[in-house]
């Protein structure tokens, strides 16, 4: 489960739509069908077909004949064994599969060969097969081979510089960095190979921006952020965010990831409000079911911690969602401890679940919660008692000394956590009677915030609508045609009028 979640956190979001084209087809058929889709995409210059071809990968990789299917795909696309492109791909696949296929399918291929030998194969098809090989290598844990192959592969894709390759390129970079992450020594160490990937990703980002290649740009930004965060180079990640612009046309999944990483950076920098905004949109946009649920859980965990740090208590219903219930159990306990302001329960919870929190990367954030627990405790006391002695506060909250308690309550009053005054001589905290919330501007502010949110939602909906390309041109020509027809009609009417006039006259005459 643990390993799966990690992978899902990165690769899952991409695979949310597993509704491949007709899942009962044999894998090699799917691959070959996809060639048609890709050709169509290149002809029509429409990236949607490529996306559809890429979408079937998750169905393909589950098949136990994945390697064979790739080999067949390669053979179909590059029938001549001498072709360089074919050799590069086949070198990566297991030898017994290639050898076996040599025997069985050669006769079938001979027939095809006549038709297509001369035909130059599209780079998109080669790149698509390359992605399949990457997926295969990753699934069969050949990380070193995969890393070497990917390095050459992404270089090749970059040198082609074709806009129809963008989506494939983005995915290629994704596996490229995933392979390097899986190599030893693993990331938190400063000698990890992920650091060597950075210049390449930065170069990819640069060329993507220059070529207005939104997909690769988004992918490279997200990968770089991940790369920096994984080695805890928060400053560098922050600088990257400040210096780059995330393409607004990026796919939803990339936006989710970007927001998640951004939220993470801001949380570490103590900018909780910002972090909360980013994480909230990330969790809302992320798919909540299917293989990507790992990402949802992960971002939800972080969101809960950030909410606690802001002094809010997450709603109980969050923990009741079936996708989250088990994964969030330690966090549920944590929230309970913070909610009642019980410092002992909080510390116990942290020590019990330390391993889990560390794995989620929330441990350091959770340690910062200590002061919030104390503040909540003070607030609970202030709500329950109109007057309480500092000694009692001490014992209730398990604070070491009365002096500390006095400073802590004074700070809570200054920070606006409670409405109270301190009586130093008698050692009391006196709670001020609550003011009526409706006499302040608070209700109108809340009203405004809600209206604003709804209006923004509407604006975003309008912006998110998709308009078919060149539709307006079609409309223009239709309008022109309509005008033409109108003219003709008008002419006919005029002519007809003449006729009618004649006829009428005749009629009258006749009468």
């Amino acid at each position: 489960m643990a390993d799966k979640m990690d992978v899902d956190a990165v690769s899952g979001a991409r695979e949310e739509e597993t509704v491949g084209p007709a899942p009962d087809l044999p894998p090699e058929r799917i691959i070959i069908n996809n060639f048609d889709l890709i050709r169509q995409a290149v002809d029509a210059f429409d990236s949607r077909f490529i996306l559809r071809a890429l979408r079937s990968i998750s169905t393909l990789r589950k098949s136990d004949k994945f390697a064979e299917a790739i080999v067949q795909g390669v053979r179909t696309a590059f029938p001549k064994p001498t072709m360089g492109a074919r050799k590069v791909l086949e070198d990566m696949l297991p030898e017994n599969v290639t050898a076996m296929q040599n025997g069985t399918s050669s006769s079938g291929e001979d027939k095809k060969r006549d038709g297509s030998t001369e035909e130059q194969q599209l780079p998109e098809i080669w790149a698509y097969l390359g992605i399949l090989v990457q997926v295969y290598l990753y699934d069969s844990q050949q990380f070193q081979d995969g890393a070497d192959f990917s390095t050459n592969f992404v270089e090749k894709i970059r040198s082609w510089n074709r806009r129809t390759l963008d989506q494939i390129g983005a995915k290629a970079y994704f596996y490229y960095s995933l392979f390097h992450e899986s190599l030893d020594p693993k990331p938190p160490s400063k000698q990890s190979p992920v650091i060597e990937v950075r210049p390449k990703l930065l170069a990819a980002l640069r060329s993507a921006v220059l070529r207005k290649d939104n997909d690769t740009q988004a992918a490279a930004t997200v990968l770089l952020l991940r790369n920096y965060i994984i080695t805890a180079d928060i400053t560098q990640a922050d600088l990257l965010v400040a210096q780059t612009q995330f393409p607004s046309a990026a796919s939803n999944n990339q936006v989710c990831r970007y927001l998640y990483y951004l939220g993470r950076i801001r949380a570490i920098q103590l900018a909780y409000t910002e972090a909360h905004d980013h994480l909230e949109s990330a969790t809302r946009k992320s798919p909540t079911a299917g293989p990507a649920v790992g990402f949802y859980q992960q971002s939800m965990k972080l969101l809960i911690v950030v909410e606690l740090l802001m002094g809010d208590i997450p709603e109980r219903s969050v923990f009741r969602q079936p996708a989250l219930e088990t994964a969030l159990y330690p966090y549920f306990k944590l929230v309970q401890a913070v909610r009642v302001g019980d410092l002992q329960a909080f510390l116990r919870c942290v020590t019990n679940n330390e391993g889990q929190f560390r794995k989620d990367g929330t441990y350091t954030l959770i340690l910062r919660l200590r002061q919030n627990v104390i503040k909540t405790g003070v607030r609970m006391l202030s709500l329950s008692y109109s007057r309480i002695s500092l000694r009692d506060i001490c014992t209730r909250l398990h604070i070491s000394s009365e002096e500390s308690a006095e400073y802590i309550t004074a700070k809570a009053i200054r920070d606006g956590v409670i409405e109270a005054t301190l009586d130093h001589q008698n050692g009391h905290m006196v709670t001020n009677p609550q003011r009526d919330a409706y006499s302040t501007t608070e209700p109108s502010e809340a009203f405004h915030a809600r209206i604003e949110a709804l209006l923004n939602l509407r604006d975003e909906c309008v912006m998110a609508m998709r308009y078919p390309m060149n539709k307006h041109r079609q409309e223009l020509s239709e309008a022109a045609k309509a005008r033409e027809r109108e003219k003709e009609l008008a002419k006919e009417i005029i002519e007809g009028e003449g006729d009618d006039a004649d006829g009428d006259e005749g009629g009258f005459e006749g009468m």
Binding site: Q191, A232, Q269, T364, Y407, A410, I413, T441, L455
Partner: protein, 272 residues
């Protein structure tokens, strides 16, 4: 040649006493020149291990001496220069630097804390947790010291901070440089808390609360913050002002309401 000269400078730096610290910067710049000649100021693949050790120790001396001279900018520079040395693979890094790495990093954390850069503090801490592991950090007294201080500061237990800055609790003399800054920080924190928390306070109690030495100092401090001290009590003048501000808030909010309503109308028009 350069290497021997370096060794000589390092031993000179080692034997420098507190009274002639002013000579140190000169020695240090000579040492850095020598390092440049050896091509060891920035570690590369080819740098020899003994040069690495020399370079790291020169930079560490530089960092510690600039703290004693209270030159924080120079200290930050040395700290940044030391980073690549600290992240070398363990088989290539000089062995004896372990003790000083914690010290320099702890000092840097304390510096960030004393200037109130909490975001930077947590960023550095996060990096430490990830790269050197929890056990090492928890063992390291030099790093635990600023961590404890930060916790107490955030919590509001200022008496703990006060206790930590006392002579015997400070892990080494370089850390003591920051004590004064920290005490000033907590004093102004306490002052701003007291303004809100107490209607008035006897001067003798304020002396204890603010960690001041005499009642005269309290009165002086009260005047600097604009508090009124009479009949042995300090009165905090903020309340009336606050009431005024609240009144104004209600008055000025009508403008906001009008503005918002107009905004809604405009938006409605675009939708319908």
């Amino acid at each position: 040649m350069a290497e021997n000269e370096l060794k000589q400078i390092v031993s000179q730096l080692d034997s420098l006493k507190a009274n002639n610290l002013s000579e140190a910067p000169k020695l240090l710049s000579r040492a850095k020149l020598a390092l440049l000649n050896l091509n060891a100021l920035v570690p590369t693949e080819k740098t020899q291990p003994q040069h690495l050790a020399l370079a790291a120790s020169v930079l560490e001396y530089g960092a510690l001496i600039s703290i004693r001279l209270q030159d924080t900018d120079a200290f930050t520079r040395y700290f940044q220069q030391l980073q690549p040395f600290y992240f070398l693979p363990s088989d290539r890094s000089p062995s004896r630097r372990q003790s000083n790495q914690g010290k320099v990093t702890g000092l840097y954390l304390l510096l960030l804390l004393s200037v109130g850069d909490y975001a930077g503090f947590h960023t550095v801490l996060e990096g430490l947790e990830a790269s050197s592991g929890k056990e090492q950090i928890e063992k390291d007294d030099f790093i635990q010291y600023p961590v404890r201080l930060e916790q107490a500061l955030m919590e509001g237990s200022y008496d703990k901070v006060w206790g930590e800055t006392k002579g015997e609790r400070v892990p080494s003399e370089e850390f003591g440089v920051f004590s004064e800054v920290l005490v000033n920080t907590i004093r102004s924190e306490i002052a701003s808390c007291s303004e809100r928390a107490y209607p008035s306070l006897p001067i003798s109690n304020a002396k204890n609360l603010l960690f001041l030495d005499s009642e005269g100092a309290v009165i002086q401090f009260a005047q600097s913050r604009g508090w009124v001290a009479k009949e042995g009590r300090i009165y905090f003048p903020q309340q009336e002002e606050e009431m005024l501000a609240a009144q104004k808030d209600v008055m000025s909010s009508s403008n906001v309401v009008i503005e918002n309503t107009l905004g809604y109308a405009r938006k409605l028009e675009t939708i319908v």
